[in-house]
C-alpha cells in the first residue's frame, strides 16, 4: 500500500478527490481491508475531534452491515421514473405480452385477405396509425379501450390489404407502442 493511495483516501473523506480518481480507489478499497480500516480510522478520528464522548460504532460494525447485506441478498431497487422525462408506461415492453404479441402477429400475417368484416374495418379506420398514436393521452397515460380498438382494427384491416412488408412495418410500430394491442386485434380477428 502506498502513501499516495492513502492520501487519496484522506482526500476522498474530505470530498476533495477528483471525480475521475474515485472509481479506481473504490475498487481498490473493495479488495483491500487495510485501506478500509484506514478510512474507518480517519472517520473515527474526525468524529472524536468534533463530538467527544458518547457512543461510537464498535470496530466491527461496518463489517457486520456489509455481511448483513451479503446474507440478506439485499439489492438496490430502482423505482419507476416519474415526471415528464419518464417513459410512457404503455410503451414499456412487457416480456409476456411481447411473446404473445409475436405469436399473434404471426397468426395475423397469415390471415387470408378479403372478407366483408375486413373491408368494413378498413373503411372505418382510414386514419394512419401514426396519427392514432399521436392522439393517445400524453404523460404516461394508457390508451383508452376505444383507442386500442381503433388501432387494432386498423392493423387487422391493414394486414388484409397491404403487402407483407407493409404489414410487418405497421405491426412492428404498433407493438413497439403497445404490446397489449395484440389482444384487441385478436378479438377483432376472432369476431364472428
Amino acid at each position: 500500500m502506498t502513501d499516495q493511495i492513502r492520501e487519496q483516501i484522506s482526500a476522498l473523506l474530505d470530498g476533495e478527490l477528483a471525480s475521475g480518481e474515485i472509481s479506481l480507489l473504490v475498487r481498490r478499497m473493495e479488495r483491500d481491508a487495510e485501506l478500509r480500516r484506514a478510512f474507518g480510522n480517519y472517520v473515527l478520528a474526525g468524529e472524536s475531534l468534533r463530538a467527544p464522548g458518547g457512543l461510537t460504532a464498535s470496530p466491527g460494525f461496518a463489517a457486520r452491515v456489509s455481511a448483513a447485506l451479503e446474507a440478506d441478498g439485499a439489492a438496490v431497487t430502482t423505482p419507476p421514473v416519474t415526471g415528464r422525462h419518464a417513459p410512457r408506461r404503455w410503451l414499456r415492453p412487457l416480456a409476456g405480452a411481447a411473446v404473445a404479441a409475436g405469436a399473434a402477429l404471426a397468426a395475423i400475417l397469415f390471415v387470408p385477405g378479403g372478407g366483408e368484416g375486413g373491408g368494413q374495418l378498413a373503411e372505418s379506420t382510414a386514419v394512419p396509425p401514426a396519427m392514432i398514436v399521436a392522439s393517445l393521452p400524453p404523460g404516461g397515460a394508457s390508451p383508452t379501450p376505444a383507442q386500442n380498438q381503433r388501432m387494432a382494427g386498423y392493423l387487422v384491416a391493414h394486414g388484409q390489404y397491404a403487402s407483407a412488408i407493409g404489414r410487418r412495418n405497421a405491426w412492428s410500430n404498433a407493438l413497439a407502442a403497445d404490446p397489449g394491442i395484440t389482444r384487441v386485434a385478436l378479438e377483432i380477428v376472432e369476431r364472428p
Binding site: 502513501d3 492513502r6 492520501e7 484522506s10 482526500a11 476522498l12 473523506l13 474530505d14 470530498g15 476533495e16 478527490l17 471525480s19 474515485i22 472509481s23 473504490v26 475498487r27 478499497m29 473493495e30 478500509r36 484506514a38 478510512f39 474507518g40 480510522n41 480517519y42 472517520v43 473515527l44 478520528a45 474526525g46 468524529e47 472524536s48 475531534l49 468534533r50 463530538a51 467527544p52 464522548g53 458518547g54 457512543l55 461510537t56 460504532a57 464498535s58 470496530p59 460494525f61 461496518a62 457486520r64 452491515v65 456489509s66 448483513a68 447485506l69 440478506d72 439485499a74 439489492a75 438496490v76 431497487t77 430502482t78 423505482p79
Partner: protein
C-alpha cells in the same frame, strides 16, 4: 405494525440542525459520487458510506432509543434499508440528510413495535434538549462503551497535540472548523496540494496511535 420509510426518506421533514453534522459541499459531492456508484451496482461504494456515517448513525439511534445496547442493531437495519432504497436517492438533499431520516424512522418503528414512547424529534433536535438527551444516553451507555469511547477521544487528542504545528493547524481547520482545502490553503498561505498532504500526514499519525487500541 412497523412502517417502512418511504424510499425517498421523506418521513418527517426534519434534518440535522447541528452545523457540525452538516457536511461541506465537497463532502456532499463525494457522497453523491459514491451513491451513483452504488446505484450502478458497486457495493464497495456503499461500504465506504457506512464507514463514513456509522458513528453518527449509531449515536443518533442510541439517542432516540434511550438504549445503547440495541443501537447498533437498529443502525444496521437503517443501513440495510438505505441500501435497498438508494436507487431512489436523487441527490435533492445531502446523502446524510436522507440517511438521517431513514435512521430516525427506523428507530421510531422500533420504538413503536415495542410500545415505548419515542422521543419528540423536534425537541430532540433543539440544542438545549440535545444536551439533556445526550446526558441521559451517557447514563445508559455500557461501561465498556464509555471506556472505549473515552480512550479513543484521549488517544486522538494526544496524537493531535503531538503533531507539528502545521499538521495540527491543518487537521483542526478541516475536522473542527470544516474548511475546504482551498480555504485552509488561503488561511495557511500554502498551496492546496500542501494542505492535502498535511491533513493526510496528520491522519496517519493519529491512525498509528489508534490502531493498537482498535485491533
Amino acid at each position: 405494525m412497523a412502517n417502512f420509510p418511504p424510499s425517498d426518506g421523506s418521513i418527517d421533514g426534519h434534518e440535522p440542525r447541528d452545523a457540525r453534522e452538516r457536511p461541506a459541499s465537497g463532502v456532499e459531492q463525494s457522497d453523491l459520487e459514491l451513491v451513483r456508484r452504488v446505484q450502478r451496482g458497486e457495493r464497495g461504494a456503499f461500504d465506504l458510506l457506512v464507514l463514513r456515517y456509522q458513528h453518527r448513525v449509531v449515536k443518533l439511534v442510541a439517542r432516540l432509543l434511550r438504549d445503547p445496547t440495541e443501537a447498533e442493531d437498529v443502525a444496521q437495519e437503517a443501513f440495510v434499508k438505505a441500501y435497498r432504497a438508494i436507487g431512489s436517492f436523487r441527490g435533492d438533499s445531502a446523502f446524510y440528510t436522507w440517511l438521517y431520516r431513514i435512521a430516525v424512522n427506523t428507530a421510531r418503528n422500533t420504538m413503536a413495535s415495542r410500545q415505548r414512547r419515542p422521543l419528540d424529534y423536534e425537541a430532540e433536535l433543539s440544542e438545549s434538549e440535545q444536551s439533556v438527551v445526550e446526558s441521559r444516553m451517557r447514563h445508559g451507555d455500557t461501561p465498556e462503551a464509555v471506556a472505549l469511547s473515552e480512550e479513543i477521544h484521549q488517544t486522538v487528542n494526544r496524537a493531535v497535540e503531538d503533531l507539528p504545528e502545521d499538521l495540527r493547524t491543518a487537521i483542526i481547520l478541516r475536522e473542527i472548523e470544516g474548511l475546504s482545502y482551498e480555504e485552509i490553503a488561503a488561511a495557511m498561505d500554502c498551496p492546496v496540494g500542501t494542505v492535502r498532504s498535511r491533513i493526510f500526514r496528520a491522519r496517519e499519525a493519529i491512525d498509528r496511535n489508534l490502531k493498537p487500541l482498535l485491533d
